[in-house]
Point group: C2
């Protein structure tokens, strides 16, 4: 392995989708044991579901379906995969098994699924996978890998969107802290699906057609030490084309504005001014800059350090000076980014400054300049800023979003519920881990106000619930918990997505999935969505499914003493 896998990875990634080797070895080991023991023609049904909503919330966004379908489309062991497996598995394995693998595709598999981007709940299978036991078992790990993180990220992003409200822009800035290069790509993709407006990740922009955003870092500001670092000083007027000396113009504005902003011109950094002017010359229509590089005035004497906070006076003054100079030349500045300090306080001070300048020079748009905030923001920060009252128009969010720091994994599982027409139930000490046996259908029942009331699981052989008719909804395990629901609308949750080796639905664009998230969330009552102590949404089983589960449970109870 002189090249530590680079050359091999080159070939393997050529399809852009993952292949069947992205799995746990035990799937292949089991496949051989099944094959060897004559279970090649066994057929099974597996459910893919989770048991608990992430982030102590009461809803989850389902994502990753399209990637699963692309995986099925491309499911094929390459020549080199087979060679690797032959080297890796015990030499006692019969060579016919490898011929079997070589010809294996997903054409005999059928997949029903909930629409990608839907709000989903614990225990309701997201996917129902049917087909030959060996192949449906072989899909487990890859499906889980593709759905777990996608759904977790989309849910996390949707929560940030709920916390921030509709008016605020949300940008994903997390690439540098993501879990590996493609961890970062997946994060950008599903943050967008969950409701973010853009990403800083250029490759994600190119691959997924997501809007990309970004201006500059602190190092950009500090790379200018003074106005002598400014090699290009002129900018043409937007309309007349006449060339102007930006440096002189900005210096004049700075002197003028210093009076109103209660800042001494000497307190503002000349390096910063030069950096901002250079940025304005490069992006006269896109002047959006960091203002907190020199926010802090420091007094250093004899080993003691006294810190006085002067609210970005340097940055704000310099920004306003350059923005006014741009205005003279026919350009409108966009706004500022704050990356440190007390964001509620600082955004209010910045807004006051903008309003003051707007009034003083009769430029109403100046009052509405965009204020972007970044710096280790999470859902709680946003909620706290809301309470304090802030003037932020846009949040740039990194680590907490892309690594899902609060809960970095979703626990989707993939469980067999039927084999050769026989239902299977997994019993467990924890009643929450008992699986729902058999092939099931799922319905969402809506009330008159358009809100989702309950999700109902039934046996697939049952008739669907009818609009306007009483439906008995039962708790799956507690005999006494039951209620009648009269739905105003009944939504069948499963669609057929994969059959006979083909995707059988027109797949939505990423944009379409993103819209689905918001429309689906709208059907959910506010109390299910709130951050603090949300109300659990109910998932029920039909009376027939209830009895089916509990009969099977009794049959599987072992022989022994009763008490």
């Amino acid at each position: 392995m002189e090249d530590n896998g680079y050359r091999k990875r080159k070939k393997l990634r050529q399809n852009g989708v993952v292949g069947p080797l992205l799995t746990d070895l035990y799937q292949i080991t089991m496949a051989y044991a099944y094959w060897k023991s004559g279970k090649k023609k066994d057929v099974a049904v597996f459910d893919l579901f989770f048991r608990q909503n992430p982030f102590q919330g009461e809803f989850t966004i389902f994502a990753g379906l399209e990637e699963c379908l692309k995986f099925l489309e491309n499911f094929h062991y390459s020549e080199s995969d087979i060679i690797y497996l032959k080297e890796t598995l015990p030499s006692t394995i019969e060579s016919e098994f490898f011929d079997y693998l070589k010809n294996l595709t997903a054409k005999d598999v059928t997949v029903h699924a909930i629409e990608e981007g839907s709000v989903v709940f614990p225990r309701v299978p997201l996917l129902r996978v049917e087909g030959p036991l060996i192949i449906v078992q072989l899909l487990e790990t890859t499906f889980l890998t593709l759905i777990n993180f996608a759904s977790l990220m989309a849910t996390n992003a949707a929560r940030y969107r709920i916390a921030a409200g509709k008016q605020v822009s949300l940008l994903e800035f997390g690439l540098r802290r993501a879990q590996g290069p493609d961890g970062g790509l997946s994060a950008s993709r599903y943050a967008y699906v969950g409701g973010f407006d853009g990403t800083s990740n250029v490759l994600a922009g190119k691959l997924f057609n997501i809007p990309v955003r970004g201006t500059h870092a602190h190092s950009y500001i500090t790379s200018f030490t003074g106005t002598h670092d400014l090699h290009t000083k002129t900018l043409r007027h937007r309309v007349t084309g006449e060339e102007h000396d930006m440096l002189t113009l900005c210096q004049e504005w700075r002197k003028e504005l210093a009076k109103h902003l209660e800042t001494l011109t000497e307190e503002a950094s000349d390096g910063e001014l030069a950096a901002l002017i250079a940025f304005a010359i490069a992006f006269p229509d896109g002047f959006m800059v960091l203002v907190d590089t020199y926010d802090v005035k420091r007094y250093y004497a004899v080993l003691l350090m006294h810190i006085f906070l002067f609210v970005h006076r340097s940055g704000l003054l310099n920004f306003c000076a350059v923005a006014m100079a741009l205005n003279n030349l026919g350009y409108k500045a966009l706004g500022i980014r704050i990356d440190s300090g007390d964001l509620a306080y600082l955004s209010n001070r910045a807004r006051e400054t903008f309003m003051l300048v707007a009034e003083k020079y009769d430029l109403p748009w100046f009052a509405k300049l965009t204020i972007v905030a970044s710096n280790d923001i999470n859902e709680e920060t946003i909620l706290s800023l809301n309470e304090q009252g802030h003037k932020i128009d846009c949040f740039g969010i990194g680590t907490h979003l892309v690594t899902c720091q609060r809960q970095p994994a979703l626990g989707c599982v993939y469980k067999m519920v039927e084999i050769n027409g026989q239902p299977r139930i997994k019993l467990s000490q924890e009643v929450g881990k008992v699986t729902m046996p058999g092939c099931k259908s799922a319905y969402r029942l809506y009330g008159a106000n358009g809100h989702a009331l309950i999700d109902l699981l039934q046996r697939s052989v049952e008739n669907p619930p009818q609009v306007g008719e009483k439906v008995l909804c039962r708790h799956p395990f507690e005999e006494s918990k039951r209620a009648y629901v009269i739905p105003t609308c009944v939504e069948e949750l499963y669609k057929l997505y994969w059959k006979d080796g083909k995707i059988c639905q027109t797949l939505p664009t990423l944009e379409g999935i993103r819209d689905r998230v918001q429309t689906s969330l709208k059907t959910l009552r506010q109390d299910h969505k709130r951050n603090l102590n949300p109300t659990p949404y109910k998932v029920a089983v039909s009376d027939e499914l209830y009895n089916f589960i509990h009969d099977l449970w009794l049959q599987n109870a072992p022989i022994g003493e009763l008490f």
Copy 2:
């Protein structure tokens, strides 16, 4: 975007390494502002470092260097990258800038770095990157992405290794819960680097030549409902080749062993026995199976559920029966996996059972059968199992390992420390965030017993510390903290890895990096490595660097009142 990026991703991943578009947009925006303002010939030095060890520990493992070097080797904007950037950036951007990008490579960059796999500490730069400002700035995000997660994972894995001890095997089982497909691949790769022995991830095995491991899931057991599901019942003797009826043999052994194991034959599941026999026939030399599918005896009556735990009697009895049958045919079973319950207690009971059978039938190897434990294990679980006393030989670890649940991101940063020969210092309210200005060298000083004493940062122009000579080591910010150290050995931490467009060191194999982790950790005193309240390892600066920092700090202190 009808295909949501799949076709584009296909092309982009052909190199197997990441390209220059895997970055934040602001890097490219800054590049243009620099280019436009005539800073094309500016040269800068950046340090890549972290400020705090992860997981509340006192050490970090440095990983990801090789991926950074491959990135440099392949640094090139493709035709389609340029087209995308033209579409995305403002139309006011001069077209010569895109010509400039098109011809940009990393040939003028120089990278010094610490050896991959080394133990490293806060503030000591892992990489020192020198070259034209524009290009070294453009490397920031990608370097951080490649190093942050790799180092975090390797550190996490190394911590599990320390907790588990050298005798225990560690397997990474986390693919299904990882942050996306390549999040899973990176996790497998760097878990191995950090000291794991193998992975369940087959693709990681193929790409990185990591040992792969795995047997079967619970669904495998439950897919057999009884002995009638066993289509192949015979196995040939390992030596004589004579065919034997495994089912009958196993049933006889089960009856025989039931007496000794205090289990009723009726309590054991026939479906489980069939599954184990099928597995033994498929893998007679690799008989390692789950024994906890039917661990729990349940009594279900009138809505009340009484649970009695019978310590996997079904699984243990069935396992021992099949293992003894295999022994009759000349094969040695490998062991069992336990995936639920009280792992300390259950592993002890399993070991007792194995010892009992070993003694009863005079088969000493039976007492040493491998016991693998899985089920949501983390570092604390292992430490607690150690305290309780367990008999586990191997841990399979998933979610907590691969997502680094305890702290899912490392905070490496990339800071400018010099521009055009002028040192730059980043001041901050928090003294911990003040950067060390200028081009620096780093040394590790060792004591007589071979333990690392301290890491020392110096200005690059200084002479290196000498063996046997007093070296003044100073706290970077606290004037009173200083000490003389007389090193027995001095290690220069930086090697030149990249210059003139070429990798200038022979890169180690993954195995080599993995060995480096263990040898490097060995030089670290035990108290720095322990889980509870570890002692911080000291990082110092030379007297010259101390004065250099503080002079610069004073120069940058703003004008204002002193107190």
